[in-house]
């Protein structure tokens, strides 16, 4: 296993831990660690200590993840790229579930919602804050893949048969297949499929449900909804571009310069960095978009109702009375499914099957590390 995979694993672990670390600043102040509290209680000492404890535990999880990567790296290279990531995710979730119980206990013991007036809020006018799909990014992604396809068509007669279809971590070809449209253009087809999928997702995002709360100024809330949708939508477009650059460049490098392993490894590193930049820019802009949550010190007459009972473990939403299939995440960016709705249950099962299949494939399949093309 090359150094590249080691650094890649460390980067992924650091990214996951960092995202979980900044998350308390990305959600409503009335939902510290996903616990519903009235506005009058957001500055309670127990809230601050719980968030601090959560962050310290996360720092611990990050250290465990790094240590596991370094330990497993030479004896079990495949496990070293999966186990530490899972460990950080599980430890991070545990940190969240355990640190939030202190707030829940204080809330129940102190009857924080006693005498607090609560309201449900919604916009009765037809929705006007729909974001545009990321047409420009999607077109750029398609153009990149088409350019790669054109180069492939021109190079096709000169390609060797059998043709290399897979390269190892050091950039040397280690997998071959008989030359055909599928073996030469297969990765580009996958690329087109991914772009179509991301484009479809952007249509879900542009009309994604938002939940208004009485603690927010309606005009501000509309602006923020529009901004959040636009950011999510362009994130999908940017991911499409990065993925098409990655797939397009690897395909072209494989056809034109199969004897230059350094080029492929350098290209892969540049693209991982590009992906990180896209994600970091998104987090910073999203944080700025939701900054008004914490920047509005005036308290409104009413609070959002205490809906903790619908959030199992503060993560899984089950509400039979709520017709929404997707709801904004309790503690995080984006949406989760309502496992109380028929559509939500179907999606939940589908996701579970995909995740289990992915894990089983990665562990059981022979030479799991060589399945990527």
């Amino acid at each position: 296993m090359s150094q590249f995979v080691l650094w890649f694993s460390i980067a992924i672990i650091t990214l996951i831990a960092a995202l979980m670390f900044v998350m308390p600043a990305m959600v409503r102040p009335t939902l510290p660690l996903g616990v519903s509290v009235p506005q009058s209680r957001i500055a309670e000492p127990v809230v601050r200590t719980s968030v601090r404890r959560y962050r310290m535990a996360l720092a611990g999880a990050w250290i465990v993840g790094i240590a596991l990567t370094l330990l497993l790296y030479s004896p079990f290279p495949v496990a070293a790229s999966i186990v530490p990531v899972l460990a950080v995710l599980v430890l991070g979730a545990l940190a969240y579930v355990i640190s939030r119980t202190a707030i829940i206990r204080a809330k129940d013991d102190g009857n924080w919602y006693q005498g607090v007036s609560v309201r449900l809020t919604a916009d009765v006018s037809a929705d006007s804050a729909a974001a545009h799909p990321p047409f420009a990014w999607i077109i750029a992604a398609v153009v990149i893949l088409l350019a790669a396809t054109a180069i492939g068509v021109a190079a096709y007669p000169h390609l060797p048969d059998p043709t290399p279809i897979h390269w190892n971590d050091a950039g040397h070809a280690d997998g071959y297949a008989a030359k055909s449209v599928w073996s030469v253009f297969g990765s580009l087809m996958v690329g087109f499929g991914v772009i179509v999928l991301l484009f479809a997702c952007s249509f879900l995002v542009r009309l994604s449900p938002t939940r208004a709360t009485p603690t927010d100024d309606p005009a501000q809330q509309d602006r923020r909804t529009a901004l959040q949708r636009r950011l999510m939508s362009s994130l999908l477009g940017q991911l499409a571009v990065v993925i098409s650059i990655q797939i397009g460049c690897l395909a072209v490098a494989g056809w034109l310069a199969p004897g230059a392993p350094g080029l492929m490894v350098a290209g892969a590193i540049v693209l991982v960095v590009l992906l990180l930049v896209v994600l970091i820019v998104f987090v910073v802009r999203y944080r700025r978009a939701v900054a008004s949550w914490s920047a509005s010190p005036q308290t409104s007459r009413a609070d959002a109702p205490d809906d903790d009972r619908y959030w199992r473990g503060g993560m899984v939403y089950i509400n039979r009375n709520d017709p929404a299939v997707f709801v904004p995440k309790r503690f995080g960016v984006g949406w989760t499914v309502n496992l109380g709705s028929v559509g939500g249950i179907a999606l939940g099962i589908l996701l579970l099957v995909i995740v289990i299949a992915a894990i089983v494939t990665a562990i059981v399949a022979p030479g799991a590390g060589h399945q990527r093309s």
Binding site: S117, V118, R119, L120, T121, A122, D123, V124, S125, A126, D127, P209, T210, R211, A212, P214, P218, Q221, A302, P305, D307, N319, N321, D322, P323, A324, V327
Partner: protein, 143 residues
């Protein structure tokens, strides 16, 4: 136009929904012809049962305040400026007003205070309407 309903109130949610929409029409926040969220959209936005919202819309429809068609969904059907009320509506409303006035009387609210509050409320609607209409002119003053 954002509206609020109280999930802990004794007043049923569909009734609260209907009341808030009527107030928004009187305020000029919802003007005739304006499109409303569909029943499902609104239920999803509130996170409440579709049947509850449907019942609220049904009330508004029966009162002639909104109309629903396949193409454009639900739209506000009338407002303070869309001509005089039907005699039928007025009589039904006067019956309910009688109960409200009886409540105030039974609790010893002075008649002057009742008329003053009524006046202030109506003026408040008219003022809000004036600030919402695009040309700054109030078309539906009740006098």
């Amino acid at each position: 136009m954002q509206i609020e309903i109280d999930p802990l109130s004794e007043v049923p949610l569909y009734q609260q929904l209907r009341d808030r929409v009527v107030e928004a029409i009187a305020n000029g926040e919802l003007a005739p012809g304006e499109q409303l969220a569909s029943v499902r959209q609104l239920a999803v936005a509130f996170g409440i049962n579709v049947a509850t919202v449907s019942k609220g819309y049904e009330l508004l429809r029966r009162e002639g305040l909104i109309r629903t068609n396949q193409k454009s969904g639900s739209v506000v059907a009338r407002g303070p400026g869309s001509g005089p009320a039907s005699e039928e509506f007025f009589e039904e409303w006067a019956t309910r007003l009688r109960t409200l006035l009886a409540e105030a009387d039974a609790h010893g609210v002075h008649a002057d205070r009742i008329t003053r509050t009524t006046r202030e409320t109506l003026d408040g609607f008219a003022a809000a309407r004036a600030s919402h209409s695009p040309d700054g002119e109030d078309k539906g003053v009740l006098r």
